[in-house]
């Protein structure tokens, strides 16, 4: 989107290019950092209580959604404020496909894994249906036109009661894969009881990793260059032979599918979908995520998602211990307000002082201290 991001992405690519052989892989510090992180992530469910696991799961779902939005807004330069709508399509789609046919609420009773796949596809189709608009509008026009999706979505969620359950939402059927059901029934692993949060944690990790790798592949390959060309100069891209309209439509569909998957994961974590969640605030949060993390890159989306979704929860939880923040009901700045101040300030500060987002910090460090082992 911005030149700063584009130039910042280049060295990252050249750095990874020689990492071909097993030897270079083993001699690089990065490999070990990644391994340590992976081990840590795998071990967390054995130690953290449910609150933290749930917070982590929210962050993972947000990361998947943010990666999708970053493909669209960050890499291709299409502003979308309708991301929450596609999250809702995924979440509710999963419930409808997997839910049992009830008295008041309909469901198709499909196997959960199939329901999840179908929900993601439906989100993609919804994105495709919007392409007559998405393909023609640009910039601010597209951004505000996608707002319409939020309002349409909310209207349907509240009114189509036999599908969505209305204002109180509907229960989310537990995921089940290879005979393992991701519900509250406890299984014991190494003497630690595994409930839904612990089990979902691993599912979330797999999904986030898969989504991240896929998006990285897209961004680093031919499509990614075409997308960046469209972002930086649409007309020139067209002249060079990039099928602009087709690309824009396809990215919109892909981004919607990412949002759909994020919606499915969120629904599984929430265990119940409620329409209030999928409003305009959520869309704005996703935009904030990619800006704070860094536009146009997978890492940026993940960092931003973690920041935006964890910050309010941390501030609420440790509200008692923070200076200047008073407990709710005692007057003064409430924790809810404090987290909004910080969040707003973070958006402004990152754009002004770190136009490449938080990942730029890491990139700068890497540039100052080139790979010691390489």
């Amino acid at each position: 989107m911005s030149d700063a991001v584009a130039t910042q992405a280049e060295p990252a690519e050249s750095r990874t290019a020689p990492a071909g052989s097993a030897k270079t892989l083993l001699t690089r510090r990065r490999t070990y950092v990644i391994t340590a992180c992976a081990l840590l992530l795998l071990a967390l469910p054995f130690y953290l209580d449910r609150f933290w696991l749930q917070a982590g799961l929210f962050a993972m779902a947000a990361a998947i959604g943010a990666i999708g939005l970053n493909l669209l807004t960050g890499a291709t330069g299409q502003l979308s404020m309708g991301h929450a709508f596609f999250l809702a399509v995924g979440a509710y789609g999963y419930c409808v496909f997997a839910g049992e046919r009830g008295q008041e609420i309909n469901g198709l009773g499909l196997p959960p894994w199939l329901a999840a796949v179908l929900a993601v596809l439906v989100a993609g189709v919804a994105g495709g249906l919007f392409s007559p608009i998405a393909g023609r509008l640009k910039g601010a026009y597209l951004g505000i036109a996608t707002l319409a999706l939020i309002f349409i979505g909310q209207h349907v969620l509240f009114n189509a009661e036999n599908l969505t359950g209305g204002a109180n939402g509907r229960d989310v059927p537990a995921m089940s894969l290879f005979g393992l059901t991701f519900d509250e029934s406890e299984i014991t692993v190494a003497n630690v009881p595994f409930g839904s949060a612990e089990k979902l944690w691993y599912l979330g990790l797999v999904l986030t990793l898969g989504c991240g790798l896929f998006a990285r592949g897209v961004l680093r390959g031919r499509p990614g260059r075409a997308m960046n060309a469209i972002r930086d100069h649409r007309i020139a891209a067209g002249v060079l032979g990039v099928p602009v309209a087709r690309y824009r439509g396809a990215v919109f569909v892909l981004s919607s599918m990412y949002a759909g998957l994020a919606g499915v994961l969120l629904a599984l974590v929430f265990q119940r979908t409620v329409p209030d969640y999928f409003g305009i605030t959520l869309s704005l949060e996703y935009l904030a995520m990619i800006v704070i993390g860094g536009l146009g890159s997978v890492a940026g989306a993940v960092v931003g998602a973690a920041f935006v979704s964890l910050l309010p929860q941390l501030l609420t939880r440790y509200s008692d211990a923070l200076p200047l923040v008073s407990a709710p009901g005692t007057g003064g700045v409430a924790p809810g307000e404090a987290s909004r101040y910080l969040y707003g300030a973070a958006v402004v500060a990152v754009v002004l002082f770190l136009p490449g987002g938080l990942v730029q910090l890491a990139a700068r460090r890497a540039r100052k201290h080139p790979q010691e082992d390489a």
Partner: protein, 299 residues
């Protein structure tokens, strides 16, 4: 009550609300023309103007308070431009749009914290008086809103056309680089645009919080959301478009609400949604809105 007079009443009400939306939408358009930024912080400018007016009118009277409120909102707008927008070194307008979201969160949080759970009145002179002509009744506040909006918009269009600031702004909108080369001070143009948008929002805040609405409170700023479809369907870079867009949104909303029983097959509570549906329809036919500049390149 006859069907005709119900229709007229809904229409008139829609037109007067629409003129208030047009004021907000005009603010968007002014900023967009000068800087090509979509301003999501507009809601908080509106709240700021209303808040200042509401907290001062008891002490200094309504009109001075309104004046101070408008000035305050203009100052806040200009401050946002000077302290934030100007500091951005990149030149991607979508990123700047996202900055305004951050600004909006900051300002709105501060203002709602100050407002707390209060409902503040603005001390306007119209009260709840109603004018009834031939079975059609309309509140004085609504008439005032329409007159004020009409005056302001006319004044604005004239300024835009005949003053040097207006010319500078149109030049900046046409091509900022050329304008800068020709000696237009872009900084001053965009500072002015933000100040004007703030002032317009403060006037809109007044008419959004007087009768038939009980007063200013934390949710008032949500009305700014209605100006989005207004600005877009008229064409983001067209001042006439803002006016027409505002009226279309106001009337659509009023009619969709008033005839909700007749429209019940689409689900009830359509009032909020209807303007967006109309907007989507118009954008399908005209991707740059009704009066927006068409982009000639086809790729």
């Amino acid at each position: 009550m006859s069907d005709v007079s119900t229709f007229l009443e809904l229409l008139l009400n829609g037109v007067s609300m629409g003129s208030v939306y047009a004021l907000i939408a005009l603010g968007f358009v002014v900023i967009f023309r000068a800087t090509e930024v979509v301003n999501f912080a507009h809601a908080s400018l509106l709240l700021a103007g209303g808040y200042v007016t509401a907290s001062l009118h008891d002490d200094i009277g309504f009109w001075p308070a309104l004046g101070v409120g408008i000035a305050a909102a203009a100052v806040v707008g200009a401050a946002v431009e000077f302290l934030v927008m100007r500091r951005y070194r990149g030149h991607d307008h979508s990123v700047l749009a996202i900055v305004t979201i951050g600004v909006d969160i900051l300002l709105t949080t501060e203002l709602t914290r100050r407002l707390g759970t209060d409902v503040l009145t603005l001390g306007d002179p119209w009260g709840d008086a109603v004018l009834t002509v031939g079975g059609v009744s309309i509140a004085h506040t609504r008439i005032a809103a329409f007159v004020a909006a009409a005056l302001l918009i006319t004044a604005f269009l004239l300024t835009f056309r005949y003053t040097s600031w207006g010319v500078a702004m149109r030049a900046a909108a046409e091509s900022s680089e050329t304008a800068a080369l020709m000696g237009v001070r872009l900084g001053r143009v965009s500072l002015g645009a933000w100040a004007v948008a703030g002032g317009l929002a403060a006037v809109a805040a007044l008419f959004l919080t007087v009768f038939p609405t009980p007063g200013l409170e934390r949710a008032t700023s949500l009305a700014a959301l209605k100006a989005f479809p207004a600005a877009i369907l008229g064409g983001l870079d067209s001042t006439t478009g803002a006016l027409v867009g505002g009226l279309i949104v106001g009337v659509t909303e009023s009619l969709a609400t008033g005839y909700q029983s007749e429209l019940a097959f689409m689900g009830r509570g359509l009032g909020d949604l209807a303007p967006y549906l109309v907007m989507t329809l118009i954008l399908l036919l005209r991707p740059s809105g009704l009066f927006g500049t068409k982009e000639l390149a086809r790729v």
